[in-house]
């Protein structure tokens, strides 16, 4: 029999709240963290709005030795991991090193650090490039730094699949727990709101160019014109359920099912594969569509992609048969952080029995969705489906269930 894997700790770093408590206090009432980009002057760029994390001072949380060698995304990830472990009541230094692993995902790597070192390379010469550039930009660096900080030597790695990665990393972590590692830190934090990262994001052609935060990111709305990029994400602690219970841990819920597919080549005429990912995840969880209480949608806010997601949902659930929400309308799209933050949000929603709203959106009838807009919706959440899609054809679906 396959072991049940549960989440016992949440660490959240989001544009509308630092820490799970602040994040949930904002999210449950629809408070957005989207505004004009302030890290650099965005006036010369096509997109000028972002979901930025304000007021994060890494030096308050992290040892001085880590500062010269870490990008902003790694500092955020290290703090989120600290908070998740603390929330889970886990003291890693007291556990066997090989009983703990770290599997995160990353869509960009450490762009801000990388930009600074590239500037030094071209303006001053190669001898001015930091030795830490050898890893500080790298996709796997968040996993590595968390592993080193907490002495976690079990199976570890990084999953790179754009915005689908946040869910894919949790699925990979669940595999490692089932294969025998009692505890795995998982999830994702991305943060590339620097000029280099910003230019790279523009190339997707999927970014909103609006200047009004209340009208810039509108999935499933007739006015949809792309997403707003954000920074942040969440790290979670995964444990084998019997071991978590044995140590008396608080259990948020189970990672019950997962499915991932890849879209067919554009122009092939074959349909997109998101619906299949949903079916795989439900089957893996052993639940029927009717058991699902809420869907946290990917919400690309690009008409074709919204259409594909709505079609997939309606095919599985029937039109307007399940509440759908996109809390990332409050944070912007966090790339690999998105699926991980949605998963953390699911557990916070379960705890309160409240589905957070999709903000600013007037749902277009044509999509046939019961989108939770305006106000949060009070309802028991026992089974939730989280969707995340990555550019290039990645589709991931994850089912989380309450554990009581």
């Amino acid at each position: 029999m396959t072991a049940s894997v549960v989440v016992t700790g949440l660490g959240v770093v989001a544009p509308n709240g630092l820490g799970a408590d602040d994040y949930w206090a904002a999210t449950r009432v629809g408070k957005s963290g989207i505004g004009r980009l302030s890290r650099f002057d965005p006036s010369q760029y096509p997109s000028r709005l972002a979901g930025e994390i304000h007021g994060f001072r890494a030096e308050e949380f992290l040892p001085n030795r880590l500062m010269p060698q870490t990008d902003r995304m790694t500092r955020l990830a290290l703090v989120a991991a600290d908070w998740a472990l603390e929330d889970a009541g886990v003291r890693p230094q007291e556990l066997p090193a090989f009983d703990m692993g770290v599997v995160t995902s990353s869509a960009s790597g450490g762009f801000e650090f990388g930009q600074r070192e590239l500037e030094r390379l071209w303006s001053q010469g190669s001898e001015y490039v930091s030795a830490y550039q050898s890893f500080a930009w790298f996709y796997a660096v968040n996993s590595g730094q968390i592993s080193i900080r907490h002495g976690m030597k079990g199976p570890s790695g990084v999953v790179v699949s754009d915005q689908a990665g946040g869910l894919d990393s949790v699925a990979q972590a669940r595999r490692q727990v089932r294969k025998g590692t009692p505890l795995v830190v998982s999830g994702a934090v991305d943060a590339s709101l620097c000029p280099w990262g910003w230019v790279a994001q523009q190339t997707s052609g999927r970014l909103s160019t609006g200047d009004d935060p209340a009208r810039a990111y509108l999935p499933f709305d007739a006015r949809a014109a792309g997403h707003v990029p954000g920074e942040g994400g969440a790290l979670v602690i995964l444990e084998r359920e019997d071991l978590a219970r044995a140590r008396g841990a608080k259990v948020y819920g189970r990672i019950a099912g997962y499915g991932a597919t890849f879209d067919p080549k554009p122009g092939s005429g074959r349909p997109p594969a998101l619906g299949k990912a949903i079916e795989l995840a439900l089957a893996d969880a052993g639940v029927d569509a009717a058991d699902v209480d809420v869907v946290f949608a990917d919400g690309a806010a690009v008409p074709d992609l919204d259409r594909a997601e709505a079609d997939a949902l309606n095919e599985v659930f029937g039109a307007r048969r399940v509440p759908v929400t996109v809390p990332k309308t409050m944070t912007g799209a966090l790339y690999s952080g998105a699926g991980a933050l949605d998963l953390a949000t699911v557990f916070l929603a379960m705890e309160e029995g409240l589905v957070p709203p999709t903000v600013n959106v007037e749902p277009a009838d044509e999509y046939g969705l019961d989108l939770v807009v305006g106000q949060p919706r009070t309802t028991e959440v026992r089974t939730a489906l989280v969707l995340a899609r990555g550019q290039g054809g990645f589709n991931s679906a994850l089912v989380a269930r309450s554990a009581d």
């Binding site: 040892p63 001085n64 030795r65 880590l66 500062m67 010269p68 060698q69 001898e127 001015y128 930091s130 030795a131 830490y132 050898s134």
Partner: protein, 87 residues
């Protein structure tokens, strides 16, 4: 022309710029004969420190100079030797 002298204070400043300082270590204390590993610097921290010394003082350091088993005293002596050779 007298050459620049590389002192323990110079090394402290560059170590902190390059790699920070462990909160549990008193860099201001008597560290001349404490090896870098005990000061909680790893090989990459020393590589970065060495690179900054080379840039600032216009010298070239042998890779073996930057070992974690070495002490600030031996590194300072090597740097001053290289500076003297520049004159």
């Amino acid at each position: 022309m007298a050459h620049k002298e590389f002192t323990l204070d110079d090394l402290r400043r560059i170590l902190i710029e390059a790699a920070g300082a462990d909160e549990a270590v008193n860099l201001d204390g008597d560290i001349l004969d404490t090896d870098f590993e005990s000061l909680n610097y790893e090989s990459l921290a020393l590589l970065e420190t060495g690179g900054r010394i080379e840039r600032e003082y216009g010298i070239s350091l042998d890779e073996t100079t930057l070992s974690i088993t070495h002490t600030p005293r031996s590194l300072i002596e090597t740097v001053n030797g290289a500076l003297a050779a520049l004159v």
